[in-house]
Subunit: 331 residues, 2 copies
DNA sequence: TTGAAAGCGTTACCAC
DNA sequence: GTGGTAACGCTTTCAA
């Protein structure tokens, strides 16, 4: 049962190994009766080609590598789901690797994957990680996910953080909220910086030019809670825009503890639209990013690159403003 | 830069390919100076062994397959996180595949993986899926996750659903709640059935022998919402135990819509302790399963099996009762 | 401690 | 259409 080779099949079917190979790969012509006979034997013997041998001689692995900085939270599970969906549809396998906090680790992971995959989807969240996306080829085509740094010649899929943040800020300011505070993400995070930029631009454009009010956070729930404490200590703003949903959730709790009602006293919004946002009380206004869809397209892109097809280099996903109870107008 | 082989390294280092191989695999003895010299060349040339060729001659892939029924939700992302953590620590790669609703699909996935991995961690949620875990060997060692069906000779990691459900039910009954209703999971799901069994046993043992009250659900949020409607239509019970957290969350919303307060009018509890449970209002009482830890141990088990070490066959994880506000006593 | 050479299971090329 | 047979890049005896 174990270790059935193509020779065993060839022998049993009374044909050459070449014919079996052709039958299985289906590119070249094989006579229909021969084909059927071979397939029957393959099935009877439960023959599965040895992928190592196959990749050795064909130079293909039919596998896509997925390199992520982390696996915590729903963002990544959604992303992987989208990638997996597309991979299954194309008959590709997925080699997953994560937790690459620092560039050195990520570089090592990249090297380790090199010989096992045909292409790699790589997500580098922080600006610091740019170092691991070398200008030089790494051996296999790379498709980039997230971050805004351009890596010339490489397809990249990014979120339009600026536009999303702009829309949220505008919405909060429109809602009759004069003072909109911003809880920022990590300073070395590109997405976070873009969101900050969007906040600033929207404020400037808003009639009346409300002053900026920026609190430093780090994308964590705890930092959101802390921001709430800080904001509650002073004269609270009319609205708070947190650079991601987790901070908004922490902020929500912090405000509740401080006896500040949302949206009664302060309007609140986040960014990402992770599933939890629907369940908190009140449900959170946020900017929805089509995470799974991004993953799906990134994989399709890999497949195209492998096949030698021409691909778009810049794929930008515009977040959709999702208005929920946390920012219900209080005119 | 591309396609550096072991021969290139051997030539550059002026040694035989055998010596390079030995140096890299580190089992047999290589003189220290030779070793260092070879390693330097390997580094300079940025040589990475071809994994296909390696697996062809060594019969190892250093890869573990992970077969999941689905990728939706936090349960799976936690699981993968635990598995990935352990895999990284052991220098193993992870081949991920999911969305195997029906047995035929799962069987195909199993076949496709066979030649690419040294061992497979397989999760089969539903009783129906048992068919895809054949008694016969599948070519590589299998480690089972979830479900209670025994597959003789195969290590399996399961949750003690019975004990968890028993504990929850007991807690709800103890809290001064006379009538405890149960919202069940899919009938063909083993975990769901065990939880039902736990509920029944606990009710029987409770002083006063409260009558059973079972509503059929399917683990979905929507079915929880519907169960709430059904329960609210009659004289509501004192407490509701949903067979998983998602149903409990749906139930919570349904109760709110019906004007029934939790825990004021009805105590509520779920099962799994997915992260969301902490954020809903009120936070949900539930049975916590160490998901990531289960994944970690499953991978360790794979590594042990591959290495030929003896392993325990039955690993049972007892859920921990997590009491939150949704079941706060109302004596 | 090192080198030479025989596989490992496929694919792909070249004849027929 | 089909068969024979070099690669493919590595590990692993077996000798030296």
């Amino acid at each position: 049962m174990k270790g059935v080779t193509i020779r065993d099949v060839a022998r049993a079917a009374d044909v050459s190994v070449a014919t079996v190979s052709r039958t299985l790969n289906g590119i070249e012509k094989v006579a229909s009766p021969t084909r059927d006979h071979v397939l029957k034997i393959v099935h009877d013997l439960d023959y599965v080609p040895h992928s190592g041998a196959r990749s050795l001689s064909s130079k293909r692995t039919d596998t896509i590598g997925v390199l992520l900085p982390d696996l915590h939270g729903e963002f990544f599970s959604e992303l992987i789901r989208g990638i997996d969906l597309a991979a299954r549809a194309r008959g590709l396998h997925l080699l997953l690797s994560s937790s690459h906090g620092d560039p050195a680790e990520a570089a090592a992971a990249l090297r380790a994957m090199r010989s096992r995959v045909d292409s790699i989807i790589m997500m580098s969240l922080t600006a610091g990680n740019d170092a691991v996306v070398p200008a030089a080829p790494v051996g296999v085509p790379l498709v980039l996910l997230g971050g805004n740094r351009k890596s010339p010649g490489r397809p990249s899929f990014v979120i339009d953080n600026y536009a999303g943040a702009f829309a949220i800020t505008e919405h909060l300011a429109d809602g009759g909220n004069r003072q909109v505070a911003f809880v920022a993400g990590p300073v070395d995070n590109i997405d976070a910086r873009e969101r900050l930029r969007g906040y600033r631009a929207a404020l400037k454009r808003a009639a009346g030019a409300f002053p900026e009010w920026i609190i430093q956070g780090d994308f964590s729930e705890e930092s959101g809670r802390e921001a709430a404490r800080t904001l509650a200590a002073a004269e609270p703003p009319d609205a708070i825009f947190c650079a991601n949903d987790m901070m908004a959730i922490g902020c929500l709790e912090g405000l509740r503890d401080a006896g500040i009602a949302v949206p009664g006293d302060v309007a609140l919004a986040g960014f990402d639209d992770i599933p939890i946002t629907r369940y908190v009380n009140p449900p959170l206004t946020t900017a929805a990013v089509p995470i799974a869809e991004m993953g799906r397209q990134a994989l399709e892109c890999c497949a195209d690159v492998i096949a030698g097809r021409q691909v778009e280099l810049q794929h930008i996903f515009k977040p959709v403003l999702v208005i929920r109870a946390s920012s219900a107008g209080r005119s």
